[in-house]
């Protein structure tokens, strides 16, 4: 491994066999807590990364400005800053701006300049809401290399860079933050460069994603997303997952149970054995959203306001262990990392491939939540997805759905 120092490679290995490490903790009652557990867990999975990317998403970290979109902007070209700031002032009400606090940390070299801007929508663009924000993020990110908005949610902060996650936590002084969801990532880049923008999480609005694996369908997914206003600029496959989540679950309003069937659909042989309504829905989803099927091995933890979701590819080619204790949901690449911070969970299990594990704020964690058989009927009732049993056709009746496709 070229370019690794003694800290990253203490045994001077010429090749390191590893994979990314993921960890997420959520308090489903929304109580905020410190970084301590997520960092202990990530440090326990140190072996899974190689120091070329680490990061965290913290939900609930800006309570005093929870009504503002908190843009974290990475300037790899410092001279881009005045133009970006002028753009933000032109299009938003700028409530507050500051450099993201950081401290000199061994192992962190050549950090880019990182600022954060707390923004509100003024009267005339407020009705467009989140669409407006997405458009402005994409405008900045595609305006030429050197400035990237990599965190744009309300009451959410993404902190990431090149280094081990423990180092990144120290660099950004995460001891000063609290959140009700903490998601961590230690990166082992395989196909794409280890640079500051390529570290996880990837985030847009209140979505953030940490990922272990490879998205082989990146090109297909990316083209589909580009036609809908999402532009990939971070040079890493995982970026599409954040935009897919936003497209399916915010714009198209699909519940996670349905979105999971788009991202990690059952195999055709499994669909053939389903009862008619469920079969019709799964067929329709595969037909309508064939370009959003995420192929290749993956485990992701997806965060959004009030929700944390764990999902693997349909044949689970990457690991995911879930655990619950009291009001805490844990998702991890390895069980040992959970046990470091929660020695005796109420329950530990590995979900079946393609079955989402979901923690929701305000919903107590139950024994079988998130792992049971997915019920087409209940989803249909809840979210107005109608399936006609006789025709074995599935019609998705959401207006946004029909107009957006």
């Amino acid at each position: 491994m070229n370019g690794l120092g003694r800290y990253e490679n203490p045994y001077d290995q010429d090749k390191v066999y590893d994979a990314c490490g993921l960890f997420g903790i959520m308090d489903v009652r929304g109580r905020r807590f410190s970084r301590r557990d997520v960092i202990r867990a990530m440090a326990n999975m140190h072996e899974r990364g190689n120091g070329l990317g680490g990061g965290f998403a913290v939900y609930g970290c800006y309570p005093e400005r929870a009504d503002c979109y908190a843009f974290h902007v990475m300037y790899t070209e410092r001279d881009r800053q005045p133009a970006v700031e002028a753009f933000l002032r032109d299009h938003f009400t700028l409530v507050h701006a500051e450099e993201v606090p950081h401290q000199s940390t061994p192992g962190i070299v050549n950090p880019p300049l990182i600022w954060r801007y707390f923004l509100q929508l003024d009267g005339k663009c407020a009705p467009q809401g989140e669409e407006y924000v997405v458009e402005k993020v994409m405008t900045v990110n595609t305006a030429g290399q050197g400035a990237y908005i990599y965190s744009s949610g309300r009451d959410l902060g993404v902190f990431k860079g090149v280094g081990y996650s423990e180092q990144i936590a120290e660099y950004f002084s995460l001891a000063d933050y609290e959140g009700y969801i903490w998601m961590g990532h230690g990166r082992f880049p395989t196909n794409t460069p280890g640079w500051w923008g390529g570290a996880h999480p990837f985030s847009l609005l209140d979505w953030s994603v940490v990922h272990n694996g490879e998205i082989s369908s990146y090109g297909i997914n990316r083209r589909y997303l580009e036609m809908r206003g999402y532009h990939c600029t971070m040079r890493t496959d995982t970026e599409v997952m954040a935009y897919i989540a936003d497209l399916l679950m915010r714009r198209h309003k699909l519940p996670i149970e349905v979105a999971a069937k788009v991202i990690a659909p059952p195999l055709w042989s499994q669909i053939e054995r389903m009862e008619p309504r469920q079969r019709a829905l799964c067929r329709t989803l595969r037909q309508v959203y064939s370009s959003l099927l995420v192929n290749g091995p993956f485990t992701v933890i997806i965060g959004r306001e009030g929700e944390m979701i764990g999902l693997t590819d349909r044949i689970r080619l990457r690991p995911l262990t879930a655990a619950v204790q009291g009001d805490r949901l844990y998702l991890s690449s390895e069980e040992a990392a959970i046990r470091v911070v929660c020695p005796e969970p109420d329950r530990v299990w590995t979900p079946v491939g393609g079955e989402p594990i979901v923690g929701r704020r305000g919903v107590p964690l139950q024994e079988d939540r998130g792992i049971g058989v997915w019920e087409c009927g209940s989803v249909a009732d809840r979210r107005k997805l109608a399936c006609s049993e006789s025709s074995q056709q599935c019609k998705l009746t959401l207006p946004e759905f029909t107009t957006a496709i």
């Binding site: 326990n44 072996e47 044949i315 690991p319 390895e334 046990r339 590995t350 491939g353």
Partner: protein, 251 residues
């Protein structure tokens, strides 16, 4: 490291896996008969590079590739194990008082793994046998998908003891690409759960004798009664061909 009675005690808290495995090698070289590892949290490759019988008790959650390339020791895990347990293991035993993760017994060449509870995906993938070497995995609970994928030899037993009455195994794609060895699964399986490369055959006396022996060992390890385990018939699965992809890759 210090000796208490006859067991060598090692506190693994905060110890890197390389250092931990080096200490294990030293202890085994010094002639230890029994070693106890405490506070194990995710250290990898425990038991690797050990080549003689020694009993090692692991308290905690050992990391990936437990017993990789192991040849001789008996590991007793008081807890769950992660992915890749028994990777290319050549001899010895792993006894897991808990559950095991994905690809347990990956390319295993010999020895035995006993899992008290359930296992993850692709257990027994490409395990193989040669002459006197016949790897064996006994799973007390049930398995997730792709059990025995590309299995080339050895014995895989699934007891289903964690299933509720009336509940069936949910694993699909069982034995996909299997071309050697044998699987015994307690309970019935639907045709769709099987890979294209396996077939069901009735058990003969030799099978029952082998199962009896393995059940006895399982019950001894985990304190079950043998008659509970035998209360339901087994499904025996064997490969339909020793070379299922011969026509696919070579004309």
């Amino acid at each position: 490291m210090f000796r208490v009675e006859s067991a060598v005690q090692i506190d693994a808290a905060g110890v890197h896996y390389r250092d931990l495995n080096a200490r294990l090698r030293d202890a085994v070289e010094d002639g230890a008969e029994r070693i106890e590892l405490h506070n194990v949290f995710g250290q990898r490759y425990i038991g690797t590079d050990l080549h003689r019988p020694v009993e090692i008790h692991i308290y905690g959650t050992p990391g990936n590739d437990l017993a990789a390339f192991m040849d001789g020791p008996r590991l007793v895990v008081h807890g769950n194990v992660q992915d890749g347990c028994g990777n290319t293991m050549n001899g010895g035993e792993v006894i897991i008082h808990g559950r095991a993760g994905d690809v347990t017994g990956y390319s295993m060449r010999g020895g035995k793994i006993f899992v008290r509870d359930d296992v993850g995906y692709r257990v027994g993938i490409h395990m193989k046998e040669y002459q006197g070497q016949c790897p064996t995995i006994v799973i007390g609970g049930t398995a997730q998908h792709f059990l025995g994928e590309y299995m080339a030899g050895g014995v895989l037993v699934v007891l289903g003891l964690t299933l509720q009455p009336g509940q069936q195994h949910v694993a699909e794609f069982i034995g996909t690409g299997m071309h050697g060895g044998v699987m015994y699964i307690r309970g019935e399986l639907e045709e769709y759960q099987l890979g294209r490369e396996v077939g069901q055959v009735p058990l003969d006396d030799e099978d029952r004798a082998l199962l009896g022996e393995l059940m006895g060992e399982y019950c001894t390890h985990f304190g079950f009664e043998a008659h509970e385990v035998f209360s339901q018939p087994f499904t025996k699965l064997i490969p339909l061909s020793s070379r299922p992809y011969g026509r696919l890759y070579a004309y």
